[in-house]
């Protein structure tokens, strides 16, 4: 944008075209103001573009039912509906988790997805085991792998009991790894 120092073509420029230090000064002011505008736009626009990308989804505690409804020693599937915020879209989604009440009253909640490749598994009451129909993984009532390709025990979800209601935070985990990796 600067033609500083170039010889001014003869005849084309009139006598009033600023030369020398005046010309340099105007050149500097012009570039200075242009850079200020550029910065004034670039910083907000960059933040504007990046900020939602860095936002971590806040996962709320959701109420999934009465603890009285869960028989001790017998895993029970609990259904609930949750709203998932996807940008400006609110999605309602059905989730079904497995809750196990131990005789001491402790409740464990398992993510409904098999740790192998993410199929939904079932509780087989006669065999006293969770079985995955896809590739035949088998888990015991505590989620430990008994058989099949599953690389790790069933994933636990954070849960708590308040006023007789079971609350949990729904999370999803990467399947197929021996480590637990939250998505």
């Amino acid at each position: 944008m600067s033609s500083d120092g170039n010889p001014i073509p003869d005849g084309e420029a009139g006598f009033s075209t600023p030369v020398g230090s005046r010309r340099t000064f105007m050149g500097w002011v012009t570039s200075g103001l242009a850079s200020l505008i550029g910065l004034g736009l670039a910083i907000p626009l960059l933040g504007y573009m990046i900020s939602p990308a860095l936002k971590r989804r806040v996962r709320p505690w959701v109420d999934v039912g009465n603890i009285g409804d869960i028989p001790p020693g017998e895993p029970k599937q609990l259904d609930y509906v949750t709203t998932i915020q996807d940008g400006y879209v609110e999605n309602r989604s059905h989730k079904a988790i497995w809750a196990v009440k131990h005789p001491d009253g402790q409740i464990k909640v398992f993510s409904p997805m098999c740790t192998h490749l993410g199929c939904g598994y079932r509780w087989e009451a006669e065999e006293k085991a969770f079985k995955c129909p896809c590739h035949g993984s088998v888990f015991d009532i505590d989620g430990h792998v008994l058989a099949g390709p599953a690389p790790r025990p069933l994933d636990l979800l954070p849960s708590k009991i308040e006023n007789g209601r079971l609350l949990l935070v729904f999370k999803e985990f990467k399947s197929g790894t021996s480590q637990v990796v939250e998505l």
């Binding site: 084309e12 420029a13 012009t30 103001l33 004034g40 504007y48 573009m49 400006y88 879209v89």
Partner: protein, 441 residues
């Protein structure tokens, strides 16, 4: 560093002549602060283009999501309100800049031969910008957007024979809805920008072929000319920077809130168009009945036609304003009419008593809590407790009402009015309703 890269490129691409054409264009009579408006308009167009692209990152052009996506930009995205503010106030600034640019060209007689085509391209650019404004206004899909657009489209319907057809084409169907929104969006962000860029190219191409008009007296022009760079560029930069500061300050300081989400079934909403359409909105109030088409399309078509072909209507070869009394006189009359209509409409706008939403909510509460069981308003309701028809006149003190609702006996001993479980907002709404019950509004 930059200059070394430049030298390297120059030795290969031979850039010096390009630089000379761009920067060393002679300006007859020298640089001037009055020549800045074209550059300012171009800058504002770039600002609109950039902020528009960024808004499109999150905007969704469907009735389901348009409103929510704008709200998302406003509340969830960092600098979202600022970027939207820049786009909104930038549009207003652009209309002002174009107005001043046209005024300058008119005053200097810059539309006269050989620059007729440049003027005409400019008028088309101006019209395109107005279409930009009209299509952009609908996109937030809030009540104002919806109903203002509804009115705009209905005006087109008054054109004889083809009106109905044009209305349908604009809406993409029988009613204003999903298809309208997506076509307004496509026109706003795809069709118009390409057209505008092409026409700006044409406008500037003509400028470079015929050169700027310069001062209106040949004597002054002969005093000398100077090149575009550095002084004119410097002046342009200073004013552009000032404009940017003003637009950014407006974007930060003047909130531009969304109204409620568009509700096609709510016909009570009174929309207000953008200020640059206001003068026209005002005009429509004075023309009724059989004369209406005169205002809705005959007059606008006439004005646009005259503007477009002005270089051929005004055949006076003189450029000095003093020797062009007729042209200047008509220009002044036009400006005075437009500005007084604008002034009038702004005045009327503020004179309209705005319905206070809290009064309406208070009225609903009055019904819900069964107040009419004991109180009477204009003959409706029980007669056991005081008549409230004009309670706003007899008890004009808001505090008194709030206290009274909280605990009637505290301000009115012996009252048998029960305490109602009201929260602060409900107390306030109910008090607003009480105060609105007056003889004279």
């Amino acid at each position: 560093m930059a200059s070394r890269i430049y030298k390297w490129l120059d030795s290969r691409l031979n850039l010096k002549p390009v630089e000379r054409t761009l920067l060393d264009e002679p300006i007859p009579g020298g640089a001037s602060w009055i020549y800045v408006f074209g550059s300012v308009t171009l800058f504002l167009f770039l600002l609109q283009a950039i902020t528009g692209m960024f808004l499109a990152l999150y905007y969704a052009p469907t009735p389901d999501h348009a409103y929510d996506s704008i709200r998302f930009i406003e509340t969830e995205v960092l600098f979202g309100a600022f970027v939207r503010g820049l786009h909104h106030w930038g549009a207003s600034a652009m209309v002002v800049a174009i107005g001043l640019h046209m005024l300058q060209a008119f005053l200097y007689g810059a539309y006269k031969p050989p620059r007729e085509a440049m003027w005409m391209a400019g008028v088309v650019l101006f019209l395109l910008v107005m279409v930009f404004a009209f299509t952009g206004y609908l996109l937030p899909w809030d009540q104002t957007a919806y109903w203002a657009t509804q009115i705009g489209i209905n005006m087109v319907g008054t054109v004889p024979v083809v009106g109905d057809f044009m209305m349908r084409v604009m809406r993409g169907g029988e009613t204003l809805g999903a298809l309208t929104l997506s076509r307004f969006f496509a026109i706003h962000v795809l069709f118009l920008p390409s057209l505008l860029v092409a026409l700006i190219g044409l406008h500037l191409f003509i400028l470079r072929r015929v050169g700027p008009a310069g001062p209106w007296t040949d004597a002054r022009a002969k005093l000398g000319s100077e090149t575009f760079y550095p002084r004119q560029v410097y002046m342009d930069a200073v004013v552009i920077f000032g404009v940017f500061v003003v637009v950014a300050a407006a974007a930060l300081a003047v909130p531009f809130p969304l109204t409620d989400k568009a509700d096609p079934s709510d016909t009570t909403f009174v929309p207000v168009p953008e200020w640059y359409f206001l003068f026209y909105y005002e005009l429509l109030k004075y023309v009724h009945g059989p004369l209406e088409p005169l205002a809705t399309w005959i007059l606008p078509a006439l004005v646009i036609g005259i503007m477009l072909f002005w270089p051929f209507i005004d055949r006076n070869p003189a450029r000095n304003p003093i020797r062009r009394p007729v042209a200047l006189g008509s220009g002044v009359v036009f400006l005075v009419v437009v500005l007084s209509l604008l002034g009038l409409s702004i005045k009327n706008l503020y004179a309209v008593p705005r319905a206070d939403p809290s009064v309406a909510r208070g009225k609903v509460l009055y019904g819900e809590f069964g107040c009419a069981g004991c109180h009477r308003i204009h003959g409706a309701g029980g007669a056991m407790a005081p008549d409230l028809s004009f309670v706003g006149d007899t008890r004009p003190d808001r505090e008194w009402h709030v206290k009274h609702f909280k605990d009637p006996q505290s301000v009115s001993a012996g009252s048998f009015m029960p305490k109602f479980p009201l929260d602060d907002r409900q107390l306030d709404d109910l008090a607003s309703y009480m105060l609105s019950l007056k003889k004279a509004p």
